[in-house]
Symmetry: D2
Subunit: 345 residues, 4 copies
Amino acid sequence: MTEKIRVGIVGGTGYTGVELLRLLAAHPQVELAAITSRGEAGMAVATMFPSLRGKVDLKFVTPDEAGLERCNLVFFATPNGVAMKQVPALIEAGVRVIDLAADFRLHDEAQWEKWYGMAHAARDYLAEAVYGLPEVRRDKIRGARLVANPGCYPTAVQLGFRPLLEAGLVDPEHLIADAKSGVSGAGRKAEVHTLFSEASDNFKAYGVPGHRHLPEIRQELDDAAGCKVGLTFVPHLTPMIRGIHATLYARLRGDADLQALYEKRYAGERFVDVLPAGSHPDTRSVRASNMCRIAIHRPQGGNTVVVLSVIDNLVKGAAGQAVQNMNIMFGLDECAGLDQIPVLP
Amino acid sequence: MTEKIRVGIVGGTGYTGVELLRLLAAHPQVELAAITSRGEAGMAVATMFPSLRGKVDLKFVTPDEAGLERCNLVFFATPNGVAMKQVPALIEAGVRVIDLAADFRLHDEAQWEKWYGMAHAARDYLAEAVYGLPEVRRDKIRGARLVANPGCYPTAVQLGFRPLLEAGLVDPEHLIADAKSGVSGAGRKAEVHTLFSEASDNFKAYGVPGHRHLPEIRQELDDAAGCKVGLTFVPHLTPMIRGIHATLYARLRGDADLQALYEKRYAGERFVDVLPAGSHPDTRSVRASNMCRIAIHRPQGGNTVVVLSVIDNLVKGAAGQAVQNMNIMFGLDECAGLDQIPVLP
Amino acid sequence: MTEKIRVGIVGGTGYTGVELLRLLAAHPQVELAAITSRGEAGMAVATMFPSLRGKVDLKFVTPDEAGLERCNLVFFATPNGVAMKQVPALIEAGVRVIDLAADFRLHDEAQWEKWYGMAHAARDYLAEAVYGLPEVRRDKIRGARLVANPGCYPTAVQLGFRPLLEAGLVDPEHLIADAKSGVSGAGRKAEVHTLFSEASDNFKAYGVPGHRHLPEIRQELDDAAGCKVGLTFVPHLTPMIRGIHATLYARLRGDADLQALYEKRYAGERFVDVLPAGSHPDTRSVRASNMCRIAIHRPQGGNTVVVLSVIDNLVKGAAGQAVQNMNIMFGLDECAGLDQIPVLP
Amino acid sequence: MTEKIRVGIVGGTGYTGVELLRLLAAHPQVELAAITSRGEAGMAVATMFPSLRGKVDLKFVTPDEAGLERCNLVFFATPNGVAMKQVPALIEAGVRVIDLAADFRLHDEAQWEKWYGMAHAARDYLAEAVYGLPEVRRDKIRGARLVANPGCYPTAVQLGFRPLLEAGLVDPEHLIADAKSGVSGAGRKAEVHTLFSEASDNFKAYGVPGHRHLPEIRQELDDAAGCKVGLTFVPHLTPMIRGIHATLYARLRGDADLQALYEKRYAGERFVDVLPAGSHPDTRSVRASNMCRIAIHRPQGGNTVVVLSVIDNLVKGAAGQAVQNMNIMFGLDECAGLDQIPVLP
């Protein structure tokens, strides 16, 4: 491919935005055309993020100045509720869109409005949007005009549970996902509970009564199981910057070679790595990379299966998966620009 | 009480040992008589632990010099397998013992030998030893000659599960304990996997196939349930120094006011704090104190109950609970020397 | 003393406030009468800070409801610029005051107004206020109506430099204080640069062109030296919650036994610990305690002296020193309520 | 260049080794031929470092099996004292060598033996070895058979001080380097003082009486100044994984536009970034990249200049600089394989 994809980013001042910039600035087939921020318009991107000095020369611009309608692809790295207002006009103009927020992740409008607490502004696009988990829906992503990039917890949990549910090997009514996230998952907003002095040297659960990623995970696990699943989802805040570790519990219905099942399901997947039997993946083994690593256990040979699934929440859980989706949509090598080796230590 | 308890510590160079020293040095009714370390004999304790300068004037001595047989009470803060060799002679000499290691925690000698990989050197004392969880066995502790101080994970998990099991409210065959520990739980041994550069900014499960605390937790939950329980226990390493967070899952058999159940069960307990409904305890809310804080949830009103239980692994999970046991054994106020307010932030 | 000191706190929702509460709630001669917060009036203190559950039963009240004029002593743990408006009326009413903010630390009104960017609202009290570093000005503190509690950096730097300057042993024109602070020094305000994901796994200098603690340190070092000193002060942000480490550099004018000098200067001081020659103090060796530990070096026997001084910024650098000042003002044992042993690890 | 450089690594189990692997595995002109480890021979590299799964297929081999003499270049990522025993034979065999340890950094054999406490085994090569700081000695590196890769502290300190000394603008007799390092600088050895529970939430100076990097820095600053310098060097351990922050102090002899001086000195240098006046570089702004970022201050317009210099100790302070040296030695683009964008957050 000789011509580069002309890419715009809406909302580039958060962690998802700066991670997109890190990945796209090094992508051989991307031309970064514009990045918008109402609040920071006029400021050089590299002034806000000195890590990008010499790598990204753009300034933040207002949405009006951005000329997004002349892009081939626009990423939305905005808070929930922003993309749904701007996406229809872009799609009308022939621009393809990947939304890293939640606006188009749920097919059921009523569910969306209940969990996100607002009316949906682009209901007509809920059905069209493709839920962009490449390992499940690669073909639909290829032709999509609008991709809903999965949430971070949902990515780790689905990749961990899917093989069991697709094979019908576990009781779908009693699934437990105990998930732990680094603090960057809470975003770059100034809030007391994510201050260093609050979140460091501390561990806590949150959102046990109900977290917005619950309906998203359920929707996709229903799809995997072919029936309504029963899921208990408990997220926790961990004192690390990046990383999600999902510990998944399910009850086996029968016997099977689980290791072989996972290896077969993910054979050929370049961003899902099934570890050797007996492994315990570190979140750092995927730090700053687009990998998901998975290990499967059956403690003491009992009928409870334990799956361990780790991703970097900002990469495979957000910006990296968005780039992976872009690669698929534009017919590129799925790994283009995503060959970073995890940073360890 | 006018006369102080004469106390010896065997093995004072680990984290459990230095935490015992912090607590005992400030205990109004304790006289620290001796602290042993073969490797460091002759060194002032405050040279190894400068935090104790001006607070502890002792030097480490060899076991032979320590005169432990003249103590009223000896704490063992040693690796597993040490106390069992020395305890019989001390008890013969009329000295009472609290073992902070695992030597006397399991009643079943075969189980112990399987999980700890050695022959037990004091089998006759396994039956006599009292498993020292005060909230369960206060009366027996009072008269005990030998107390087996509970492990850190077992303390957090039992205090969280007990009310449900004692009341017969949950299916005892499908209990899940997803537990997260700070790194100090791994001790002060020089090992690669607990180096700062390995354990920081990282999260992982470990010991999924089987952890030594599993048989200990099972033994005590069997006692609570009055039958054999089925338990899946997955421990995780979290990048914080102190703290355990146990997230517990069980399936309800019927309906009940769980909040009231827990409040009633722990009414009068000065080191178990049942939080208001809807709470999510931080591990830091108990940092450096002997408290356990518990919250009970029933997400989306379903039949899965989620209990969150936090302790400081070095205090209620080790040294603090040992001092609490000492207070009970010697007829002191159970809170004596244990009134530290958690350090936050 | 049979009657307790009746104490009020203005502004108890920051880290200095919660640390004052931790110390005062355990102080044997203090009655906590009221704690104010406009924003949180009506909320139980222990709801905001669960670490205080069962230890502090107060609710936040508005200043009007607080009845501060009936207290013996009021602590201000407020942002700069608040105390100066309320202090005169309290003092008129016979209430003694310790201000933990900077309102009364500088004698020179013009300097204050330059560095703090506002007009001073209680100029008449600048001369009366006693700069409350007990190791320097214990006698004046005893009788003071108004004590200006020193800043955190100034405490660590002064205690480190004073013996050299008082003895005239170093060139006062070329002093360097390279100081490193934990993040809690920045307070409990929601700001981006102190988020966990910004401040963790990172290190930076800040305020090199000029930091508000510079004139405060200079004023006090001038006093120590008996002349105007030349000081370069560079503060740094370190990824830890608590602790200040000041590394101080000065050029020796002649020869002297520096170790003996320091030991003599601080003989009898219960909160300054001069370490043995050759030591390197850890900040954690004073964590959660009111100690300052100091080591003196003369690398390679040259004429540059290096002093290492560590404190806990929230204790000896704020709330603990305030309690120490209170003890002095009210004729109590200077250590009352301040005997906490540092928490290690 | 069509043919790849055949590269061997001696000692690949430490942090410098795994970082070299991360960089070389992604280098377009490198063929990784062998990596040795006596202790781990036979183990797949990716078993020890799961971050390299799918990226590095090599197994560790013994030195005998490695066939290093058939390589074009061998990196030594070994403890001090190892390379000096093996380098002569390799160079005789026509293999070029980059030593990441200290064996060939000092020209003065007596100094080396004093600071490293052993006899030097390859004295004849001390004069030939080129001290490999590309920004100073690029031409000599190009033709070198043996490059001594600079230490981490020395790199950050030299790049910060050089422009001032080369221009003769500061008093060379009174230089102060207050340097702070992340814990990975201490290596991957199992030691108590670098355990997470020791090094986390803590800050301390170390080696104040004398650190091995002192003679190395002095040697190179002497070279920059053209005279013997007087340097006080104080290293500190900071609770972060990667990063060095050097805060440098010098006394100005006259006036000059320091910002312009630095910008001119480093114009064209692709791995030294002089920040705009008034900046404070974060260590994270260079995390996992080969950049050094520098800011220059003159607080309050006085005669003390303060230079802030940050690098990633494992990249520009070790493996990255080694790859930069390799690129120069083999006539490649100096940035080949070193275009990683820093990972933030």
